[in-house]
Subunit: 230 residues, 2 copies
Amino acid sequence: MFTLHHHPFCPFSRTIRIAMGEYGIGAEFIEERTWERRREFLEINPANNLPVLLVGQAGKVVGVRPILEFLDETKGASLGPRRLMPADPYDRAEVRRLLDWFDGNMNNEVTSYLVTEKIYKRFMKAEHGGGAPDTRLILAGSKNLRTHLAYISHLAVRRNWLAGETLSYADLTAAAHLSCLDYLGDVPWEDFEHAKHWYARVKSRPSFRPLLVDQVPGVRPAPSYVDLDF
Amino acid sequence: MFTLHHHPFCPFSRTIRIAMGEYGIGAEFIEERTWERRREFLEINPANNLPVLLVGQAGKVVGVRPILEFLDETKGASLGPRRLMPADPYDRAEVRRLLDWFDGNMNNEVTSYLVTEKIYKRFMKAEHGGGAPDTRLILAGSKNLRTHLAYISHLAVRRNWLAGETLSYADLTAAAHLSCLDYLGDVPWEDFEHAKHWYARVKSRPSFRPLLVDQVPGVRPAPSYVDLDF
């Protein structure tokens, strides 16, 4: 029995939801608004970061990277040739380098700005940092996004999937970030054809479908968000 | 044949140097001042982050987490019961949670401020961000450090090593950060007895010795820095 503490527009949480879909693992989902510092969640994870995976009565895994590695270690072999971490240590290092890139650089330069300003702030009270979106941060994020789309296109031209020949955690992670931005209609797909084609392949996987029904009250998804032939 | 691109006061690079000491791996060390954006290094790692491990003619592993996992996957078994990642998946997740904590939270709130302001800025030209240290950032880092020392003490009281019964990457990582701060004389050890006792045990390991001879021109190490009975 799995329980995932998550937020629908946290890119790290989205990565784990897609991964669980690939593994065929169901879970109870508990939405956390970490800026509210819910006491029961702080008892589970004093660092207050998402996601947190609970397994049975006593198992706890905190954070996207620990959860991805944990799922690979405990469930990876069950996927056979569809395993989401490659077998070769250098290939695994390449997946992890890209996880650093997307969850570090891309998140800090793009996703965090746009999701915080456009989504989280709607739900935050003033004392938690809520208020009107900061258009300077939105502009900075939108500008930086083009660099990251260019890099994804660069990889997608040269490789079958972002980290190599097979679908990996790198694809799920990059797509999780982009899915948040795509909901907001912020992705200039028309300028990055190879990135778009790669994203369409990830988006069409059954593991991705649950994300496509997420809705933010008051923020309609961009028309292309649920469209597999966007 | 291993080559490590590093900086002597980059905590991520220090972690790998200690780990390589534990594995008994020698390497050629190449010092990088990433703010100078050295062209040959950017060709190796366009993201320009440290450390980067080169293996032989063609093997490349970028970033502290990918390198730690790579070393465990390729050399871990050789350490037998001294392996730096535990066998149980939940125990491994706990090590990785602490790596997130120290390389993420502690670095962002403490190490990065103090090392940048007190060390890196001495070597940076004005156009790279050099100049006088920002005392506000130094004060913020010093204040935040107390929280992290309290957490290390909290763990050290309850466990034999930070992540559990055996020495792990979590200890090497936390000690790598503290060693940078200890060089600067910024660690109020006297207020955190359990953290001090734990750090003395890590510091006395042979793998730690190469770090104790690092010197920054113009910045003497604190008197306690090389003292194993500080």
